[in-house]
Amino acid sequence: MSFCNGNRPSVRRAAALNSAKSALFGAVLVAAGAALAASASAESTLVRGMGPTIGTLDPQLNFLANEGWIQDDMYEGLTAQDASGNIIPGAADKWELSDDGLTYTFHLRDGLKWSNGDPLVAQDFVNGVVRTVDPATASDKAYIFCSTIAVTGVCDFTAKKTSDPTKLGISAPDAKTVVVKLDKPAPYALIYFGSYYGAPLHKPSFDKFGAAFIKPENIVSNGAYHMAENVPQSHVTLVKNPNFWDAANVKIDKVVYQITEDNKTAVKLFKSGQLDVGVDIPADDVLNLQKEFGDEMHVTPYLETDYFSFNIKVPPFDNINIRKALSTALDRDTFINKVIKGGYVVNCGYVVPLPDYKGARVPECDMDQATRIKTAKALLAQGMKEANIKKLSFTIESSNDDTQKKIAETAALMWKKALGVDVKVNAQERDAWLDAFNGGKWQVFNDDLVGDFAGPETFLAYIDPRGGVYGWESKEYEDLWDKAMLAADKQQRYALLAQAEKVFLDQYTSTPLDAAPSRDLVSKKISGWVDNVGASHPTRFMTISGN
């Protein structure tokens, strides 16, 4: 593990200087010096903080963002993402999409190999998807291929209506070609053939070791790195894979993903030089860290949107004017400037702000607060009259995450102050919070969503009425979505999706609030880290100086 940092004072040097000064720590420091000297080597090492501990590194099972970062280094899908998060050729150097938008044909590069030298063939990618959707694997990711991009036959396979994987819409007609057939067009599907969802499976090692094929001593991968060590609750070490097709351009020899459960500790580790990259930096510390570290403190728009949802199946929230009044009374600027600082931005649409998507906005975002309150009061009076109620009181269900709790409590105060309504906040554990939502026993839900990729489709697919998440119905939304999926180009598709987003916002089933940023400390020793909204930072594109 890299332990020193060229820019900041290193612990190693300081240990040597100070060891004579302290009788208490003398013996300890001698041991420290020896251990650290032994760890010194010429290879370049990047130490990346990764936040909370990981659940699994099984490529067909893992489902957390930080598991994905490791997976992106260890595996390569048919497609890949560059340092800016753009889709680029991965194991497939080219592909075609049929005119009806339903069939993708991927062509693999020549001479691809697994980390153990075995040839990497098209069937390995098919095997990866088949294992993901196999009911026996019990993977959350199966839903991606069933509902998000609707690969033919997958839903029947996961529902155990068929058990024949050859009936699935993914096949390898020859060693270098993968054909994927979809039930409906999904022009955004390429991201799902990248490493996180579409990692190949090295079947010989899986057949031999079963679920233990992912252990460092057994693993065979095809990415720029392969795993050398996995210490639960501590770190994962990856080393460069010499059999990766682009190994000559991979500059960093070793990557240590360090678990940094406590994000305050992550900051201290970065300051001391024990970490080259610190992630999920506490929002409250961002301003100070920007002063202290300047460009090393990266605050970047991200794919997380925070919003309130109203249970339109439960009175009085079946009344649109009441929903609209509550949405209108919110002072979103106060949330961002006074309550949740650290790079959060006001979000007026359901989709987070994206570079090339001009989405719909709730109209109250463009009013001043006095107008908002006046309008909200009128709407509430009208809504209460229609709902035949004299007093409005309700509960916001929130998770007990600090920021989410703060958001819910602030909204409760705002609504109480502006509209005189009686609002309680029920902050609970994440599982209990989700249980309340899934059980339908809620009035107002302090909601959030993290998109899969930097496109509006990932957000708007979630609220599609056919998915039934919020119990709303809109033929207009469905038609706009379907039309968008058949649009000739991205510009046209995004225009149609913006219209669909407006249909959703007009219903006030949910009201947007803010978009959360990613907050990372990135050492200036690192080149090739490019801030991007998808927070995609594959190590293979980075270089590190000074170690």
């Binding site: 590194l57 839903c155 210490v231």
Partner: protein
Amino acid sequence: MFRYVTYRTLKSLPTLLALAVITFFMMRVAPGGPFSSNRRVPKEVRLNIENAYHLHDPIWEQFWRWFWGVLHFDFGPSFKYRDYTVSELIAHGFPTSLEVGLWAMFISTVLGLILGIAGALRRNGPIDYTAGAIAMVGLAIPIYVIGPIGQIVLGLHLQWLPIAGWDGTWPYKVMPILTLSLPNIAYVSRLMRGSMIETVRTNYVRTARAKGIGERKTILKHAMKGAIMPVVAYLGPATAITVTGSIVVETIFGIPGIGRYFVDGAISRDYPLVMGVTVLYGAIIILANLLTDIVRGILDPKVSYE
């Protein structure tokens, strides 16, 4: 003695079973489940996951499956850490928690006893006040404050020690051990001081002094045996708590122990993990209490093994 140990061990089995049953059913009453998600996962996919872990089997069947596994030293798969079984997680993390915890208890006991005895024998003097101040700090400042202060002072400013992380070498152990020790030093020293003050006033100590036995021998050989009893009673459960890992210390210092599993497991509804660490904790508490009683029997002739 052998009969006593066997009797106590057998007697502890129903206690462990009761602990397991209560924990198992309490976990199931908690809202949410291990695979709750706000993603729009189709019902069939969700069912496949839950069925893979037998979550729709009758609850007694689930308990029996778990119990049968435990009889074969298999605590089942972890729902959250899916690359590992619970037994693997415990086998990996427990030695680390045990090592840190035992060192912390060793330091706490030695320093606590020294400070306690010194304070008792030099009452209201500088040593007593110093020992009292250390105890006050240990008791009043929680470890989630002491730990980060240590990181800032020893790690960032003085740069004597790494701030966090773990590679099993001493530099990484020092701060967590000291942080974990401090509250126990405080407790042990206060208990020892109070007990020693009482003991040195007893007739048998007075008799020992009257016989002309030197002060050091009187204290260490005669008074100590009686005075240490409250400390021994405290050390049993304290050791069990400390060696099973502290979530605060392990989180702050990034130690790969099992302390975090208690809370992580409960929050993520990882039923097998919670069961595994609870049974382990229960077994260690029982063992620690047994050892405490044995030591008390050795020190105090009035205690009988019958």
